[in-house]
């Protein structure tokens, strides 16, 4: 059965390597490697940015989370798109005009402090690593789903492919790869969504009705490949074969009560039409909020839903500005105006893509309620096609989805590795092509190793955390650095250390299980709620206290970030930034 999927994944991977390898012949200087020689037209660049941005979380995570936790999880897709609008409004053109390559370069150049640049580099590594982990997890579970290989095989495969590809090609190759991968991802989620939408046929939106747990809309036999714990909300008559609640059945009609059951591996349970849908441990909603409520409580165990939702909104709206692998792409625009056009196209491309996870999630809820017995919410998108469309068409769609998912992991982790390796080699080594290559391989090894321990966290949650760290460190740095001439290097350093540090501490303590209920769970599980305002406040207050360290020519540096290029060229002879 998995032949088509295996073929599709292998095809995507090979194609990525080949398109990337073409770049080797073009890439000659460190400039080429890092920012593709700055000559990428807006439409191509926008597709590349979107290709890089749409990660495992967007492809698998959001739809799975919506099915398990409810429609509130769609705030992730809204937030990931709105993040680009905020980026357009606040930083796109000025940042391009400043003309540095990376966030650390920007920090060092704008505030004339190489030490600040190195502080920023450390944070680039932290955010990059946090964002790489979910991509690796995605690869692990996808290969697990398709081939039945252990989790680590997928993780290691992705690590090897991406590190080697980047070490060989750099970013010139990556621009084409990323662009191609946006369209691949759009097709891989859009075509299955539309086909399944028509194949599923019209059904009164029964399982979407508020105040109702999902029910089976037709008689369904569910077979559980592995041991599963599940809960029933109402009693139900079922037919069981296999091990259920410590008893062996053989095609027997049983009445199950509204309580928790343990099913052994290989057990099949037949449900009648209208029977309540059992929910596995992994798919159990975090709160008692109805499925259609607009609140997002995953990761905070259902406490204070409104506050938790705003935590996600703040993190995603303001996190995109601070993502290291995304900003590096802005320097590939020829000028500030092109940067703005590119960003608007990105918002359009992302909006298009994010229509489909919602469609898939609703289809799963409506027509494939047996997916509530999945062992991981991130599997839903992979499993859906073969459930809704048995036979060859379903298999082909599943192959397309698997290929798209793999494209998502490949492109996002490539972009991340480029920026992580670039930051490492530029700021801590000699910055040459050779050191860039070694840094790419080293970073790949570290991320692969770390990914082996985070299997139990949802993809959307992990990516949301990376956004939270970016929003509470680099976002204030970029926004204040671009718009506020009184920002000092001491203030900037204090802000990113306090904001980023406290956010990281909160996330790590959540991962270790520090607080699971009440305000503790919300403030630690969605730290952006307080770390983003904290970072802004610290940066502003400390800057105001250290005004004496402000260099004299700040006004001119600031103005030149905002002047159109033609004007800037006529008014000033020297180029801006470090270059």
């Amino acid at each position: 059965m998995p032949d088509a999927s295996v073929g599709a994944i292998a095809f995507v991977t090979l194609l990525t390597i080949m398109v990337g390898a073409r770049g080797i012949r073009v890439a000659r200087t460190p400039d080429d490697f890092l920012v593709a020689a700055r000559q990428v037209p807006p439409a191509l660049n926008a597709a590349a940015i979107s290709g890089e941005y749409l990660s495992a979380a967007s492809f698998l995570g959001i739809a799975g989370l919506v099915v398990a936790q409810g429609l509130g999880a769609l705030w992730y897709s809204v937030g990931y798109t709105a993040g680009y609008l905020v980026l357009l409004l606040l930083v796109a053109a000025p940042l391009r005009r400043f003309g540095a390559y990376t966030i650390p370069d920007f920090a060092a150049g704008r505030l004339r402090s190489p030490r600040l640049g190195r502080t920023a580099t450390v944070l680039v590594l932290v955010i990059g690593l946090f964002y790489l982990l979910p991509q690796m997890k995605g690869a692990g579970i996808t290969l697990q789903w398709v081939l039945g290989t252990p989790y680590w095989v997928g993780v290691a495969t992705l690590g090897v492919v991406v590190s080697c590809n980047i070490a060989m090609g750099g970013m010139k190759g990556i621009t084409f790869v990323q662009c191609f991968q946006y369209w691949l991802k759009l097709c891989a989620i859009g075509i299955p969504a539309l086909v399944l939408l028509f194949a599923a046929g019209h059904d009164p939106w029964r399982n979407l009705a508020p105040d109702q747990a999902p029910v089976f809309t037709s008689a369904t036999t569910v077979s559980l490949p592995q041991a599963t714990d599940f809960t029933l909300t109402r009693p139900a008559q079922v037919t069981v074969t296999g091990l259920l609640g410590q008893r062996q059945y053989r095609d027997l009609r049983v009445r199950l009560c509204a309580c928790r059951y343990q099913a052994g591996p290989g057990t099949t349970i037949g449900f009648g039409k209208g029977a309540p849908v059992p929910v596995s441990l992994a798919m159990a909603p975090a709160s008692t909020q109805p499925w259609d409520s607009p609140f997002l409580t995953a990761g905070t165990n259902g406490s204070h839903p409104v506050a938790a939702t705003y935590g996600v909104i703040i993190a995603t709206f303001f996190g995109a500005i601070g993502l290291p692998h995304i900003l590096v792409r802005f320097y590939t625009n020829p000028d500030g105006e092109a940067a703005r056009r590119t960003t608007l196209i990105v918002v359009a491309l992302l909006s298009t893509f994010y229509l489909f996870p919602a469609v898939l999630a609703v289809l799963a809820r409506l027509h494939a309620p047996q997916l509530y017995l999945s062992s991981d919410s991130d599997d839903i998108v992979l499993a859906l096609p073969s459930v809704l469309l048995p036979g060859l068409p379903g298999e082909l769609l599943a192959a397309l989805v698997a290929a798209g998912a793999f494209a998502a992991f490949l492109s996002t982790s490539s972009g991340l590795l480029v920026s992580v390796a670039g930051a490492l080699s530029h700021d801590f080594m000699n910055g040459g092509v050779t050191s860039f290559r070694w840094c790419a391989i080293a970073a790949g090894v570290v991320a692969t190793t770390a990914a082996l321990v985070i299997e139990r966290f949802s993809l959307a949650l992990l990516v949301g955390w990376a956004f939270a760290i970016a929003a509470s460190s680099f976002c204030p740095l970029m926004v204040l650095g671009i718009w506020w001439h009184r920002l000092t290097k001491v203030g900037a350093a204090a802000g990113i250390v306090v904001g980023g540090g406290s956010c990281l501490a909160a996330i790590v303590s959540t991962m270790l299980g520090a607080a699971s209920t009440g305000w503790g769970a919300v403030l630690l599980g969605q730290p952006a709620l307080w770390t983003v305002p904290l970072a802004f406040t610290v940066m502003i207050v400390i800057s105001l206290l250290t005004q004496r360290t402000l260099p004299g020519n700040v006004g001119r540096v600031m103005l030149r970030m905002h002047l159109p290029e033609a004007l800037s060229r006529q008014a000033y002879r020297t180029p801006l930034g470090l270059k």
Binding site: L90, I313, F317, R341, Q570
Partner: protein
């Protein structure tokens, strides 16, 4: 030849009306960082920031107000449109055109702002061609 003779015009000299044309603040002031240059630059920056903040506020008011509304008026969150939950329509589809529209509006305004500023500090006349040549 009955052409009317031009009437006599009275000219009053007032020294605050004198225009010293070549000294319009412009590129030179930006380059030399004069008082005028700084003032010009700062007002341009402020206009840009105002535009960005206005669009940002608009985007935040439209999108981020939804959870508050849903918390204050649960009936809104539970409403259905043609059988589909309102939450799905709003979060799944409706926000995207709004975000795009704000972005498009911002790009247009920002471009115009830059064009106007360019014309102000670097008018075509200053480049050696008379305006109506």
């Amino acid at each position: 030849m009955t052409q009317a003779r031009p009437t006599r015009q009275r000219v009053v000299w007032r020294h605050d009306q004198v225009l010293v044309q070549p000294d319009v603040p412009g590129l030179g002031d930006l380059r030399d960082d004069t008082k005028h240059g700084r003032l010009l630059g700062r007002s341009f920056l402020r206009a840009q920031l105002g535009l960005s903040l206005m669009c940002l506020t608009l985007a935040l008011v439209v999108t981020a107000s939804f959870p508050v509304i849903a918390a204050l008026a649960p009936a809104v969150a539970r409403a259905t449109v043609a059988g589909l939950p309102l939450t799905l329509i709003v979060l799944g589809f409706a926000f995207y055109p709004v975000l795009l529209g704000i972005g498009w509006f911002y790009n247009r305004q920002a471009r115009q702002l830059e064009a106007r500023f360019t014309e102000l500090v670097d008018p075509p006349a200053a480049k050696g061609q008379p305006p109506d040549a």
